[in-house]
């Protein structure tokens, strides 16, 4: 999400799969050879760039600099025996990506969980509590969804300077602020689909709002929570701009900033190191993505649907 880039479910839409009763592979028009060929070409085009990076990241400097990565297919024996892990060790140690990797985790985890908790409380209030100004305040969230976060940089930098705030909390707080509208929006839409009767009977049994929230609503909202958590984690991990503005290069820099400054920005770094660094920066989001894809997709599609 890419910076990440994009914001899912900004407008409500997407009907839930209504075709559940239909036979498997529901669409009666089955794949002809043309469909298959087109899809194979598309998948090939989508995968080749990343594959080239992966191959290059194992090649020594001379090979990477002097021959295209695809030459390993024309003379595999000559090039494959040169394959090495040293690009990775060098990128981790000399370009300080090891520290940057830890920094990225230190930035991304709190910047994912804190806004999730804050937004869940707000979404609960919007869904299950009556209070004056409720609709207006929620509409404000909807309209703020698209305010570009560029507005924050100059004013917040001077706020931080006045307060003397530095390091990880500066980006945590920024990501809490930037992710908040979307989080409230997604979670409220999801909580709106929960059965009201369950919550009301909990109230009759004497449960407080606080108890209902933690024991009932949070566990029931896991699909939406997971979906936003994955999205926000990818967004924060992949973010370059916010980290560049508030943290910058140096000992607290996350891996995106380190790859940009220590590798891409350094003419002498060598293509082999750039690729190893690039791959190191992607490995966590790709694992998160592949292992949680189901949750992510479900949240993207169903999370934005009202019941």
């Amino acid at each position: 999400m890419t910076s990440a880039q994009t914001v899912p479910g900004v407008t409500t839409a997407t009907p839930r799969a209504a075709r559940r009763g239909a036979p498997k592979g529901g669409n009666p028009a089955n794949a002809g050879w043309l469909t298959k060929v087109v899809l194979i070409i598309v998948c090939f085009l989508w995968v080749v760039p990343t594959f080239g990076l992966l191959v290059t990241s194992f090649r020594p400097l001379d090979d990477a600099n002097n021959t295209g990565w695809w030459t390993i297919f024309s003379s595999p024996v000559a090039y494959l025996q040169n394959f090495t892990f040293s690009n990775y060790t060098e990128a981790l140690q000399k370009a300080h990506l090891n520290i940057a990797f830890v920094n990225s985790i230190a930035i991304a985890l709190p910047a994912t969980f804190i806004p999730l908790l804050i937004a869940a409380f707000a979404a609960y209030a919007f869904t299950f509590m009556e209070f004056p100004g409720r609709n207006f305040l929620f509409l404000a969230v909807v309209s703020l969804l698209i305010v570009p976060n560029y507005v924050a940089f100059v004013p917040i930098l001077s706020v931080y300077k006045n307060l003397g705030l530095t390091g990880f909390p500066t980006v945590w707080l920024a990501h809490i602020g930037f992710g908040m509208s979307l989080a409230i929006y997604i979670l409220r839409n999801y909580m709106g689909t929960l059965p009201k009767t369950v919550i009301e009977s909990a109230k009759i049994d004497g449960a407080s709002h606080y108890q209902t929230f933690f024991r009932l609503v949070l566990p029931m909202s896991v699909p939406a929570l997971a979906s936003f958590a994955i999205f926000q984690f990818l967004w924060v991990w992949n973010d370059l701009l916010v980290a560049l503005v508030f943290i910058g290069p140096g000992e607290n820099a996350p891996i995106t900033v380190a790859v940009k400054n220590n590798l891409i920005g350094q003419a002498g770094a060598g293509w082999n190191l750039v690729t190893a660094g690039g791959f190191l920066s992607m490995i966590v989001p790709i694992i998160v993505f592949l292992s949680m894809q189901r949750f992510f997709v479900r949240g993207l599609t169903a999370g934005a649907v009202k019941g």
């Binding site: 899912p8 809490i176 992607m282």
Partner: protein, 327 residues
């Protein structure tokens, strides 16, 4: 390294712990109040931290940025509309605006079209084939633009003629006997911007495909069958039966991508930093702020972006109200 990891874990725990403590305290605070007030104030206590964050990081800065846009480079004295007029009369900035506009015109529409195409085709595969195809196309969404920058350098890389080409595109061109081309320097008709847009499409089409695919599967099968029995061909079925039913999702993808494109920064920053006439507003903002140290110009650029998003904002609010009214 060990100490670094330990301090990191402690910082993370303190940060997350503080958030929990905050709500515990807020809740206790509400419970101390007389019960009449407790019921009235509790909702506000629950939304307070969220709105504090939104106010501090969006509303206050938005107002402050508007103020800064009428002040000089160090935000000390008022300069009226100078920041705007100075920017708008520069040829470079006009080109930046044109580039941004091109991104907005091309990327969202192509994202929807490609995503829809892949979704429709993949829908005809076996469930396993569909899953595989979708995963491969969706995966770039997990990759940062810094990562994408390292990947795509191997597509666009250029070496002078005679040297071995390590960029895929030039390798193909020279294999067919052509001259190698420095792709990212080709700025006639903004072609190099197009090459950068391809990177965003690569990252974004999967997102579009996933949403549209879910929408397609939500189209009741009997409406398609009915059209087929009435003698409609596949193209007619697609455009007159399917597209109208998934129009809401198409607009969702379009608007979401449009917003992302207006703010695009990383791709341009990593690949060219705006050189060869590929600059966009996001990158120009960053350079005004951190290269020229011109707060006023940077703020003016953000205000232009904000103004440009107002129509989308109005659309969002109206759309949301309609949805609420229907529900």
């Amino acid at each position: 390294m060990g100490a670094k990891i330990v301090t990191t874990i402690i910082t993370v725990l303190i940060g997350v712990g503080a958030a929990f403590v905050l709500y515990w305290v807020l809740n206790k605070l509400a419970e101390v109040l007389p019960s009449r007030w407790e019921g009235r104030l509790k909702p506000y206590f629950y939304i307070l931290p969220a709105y504090a964050a939104i106010t501090l990081y969006l509303i206050y800065p938005a107002i402050q940025t508007m103020v800064y846009s009428f002040k000089d480079s160090s935000s000390t004295s008022w300069v009226g509309w100078d920041n705007y007029t100075n920017l708008l009369k520069q040829h470079g900035f006009q080109q930046t605006l044109i580039n941004t506009l091109l991104w907005m015109l091309i990327v969202p529409a192509v994202t929807v079209a490609l995503g829809l195409g892949v979704a429709v085709l993949a829908d005809r595969l076996t469930p396993r084939g569909e899953q595989t195809a979708k995963t491969l196309v969706f995966m770039p969404m997990a990759i940062s633009f810094v990562g994408a920058g390292t990947i795509w350098r191997f597509i666009y890389a250029y070496r002078p003629e005679g040297q071995p080409q390590i960029g895929l595109q030039n390798a193909i061109v020279t294999a067919f006997g052509g001259q190698p081309i420095p792709w990212l320097e080709q700025n006639q008709f903004h072609i190099n911007s197009l090459f950068l847009m391809i990177m965003l499409l690569w990252a974004q089409v999967g997102f579009s495909m996933v949403l549209l695919s879910a929408a397609i599967k939500g189209v009741p099968i009997d409406t398609l069958e009915a059209a087929r029995i009435d003698g409609a061909n596949e193209r007619q079925i697609f455009f007159s039966v399917m597209v109208p039913q998934i129009w809401g999702t198409i607009m969702t993808v379009f608007v979401t991508t449009l917003i992302a494109v207006m703010k695009i920064f990383d791709i341009v920053f990593v690949m060219t930093n705006g050189a060869f006439n590929t600059n966009v507003l996001g990158n120009e903002f960053f350079n005004q702020l951190f290269t020229n140290f011109n707060n006023g110009a940077a703020a003016a650029i953000v205000v232009m972006l904000m103004v440009a998003t107002i129509p989308i904002m109005a659309y969002q609010v109206r759309h949301f109200r309609n949805e609420e009214a229907m529900g």
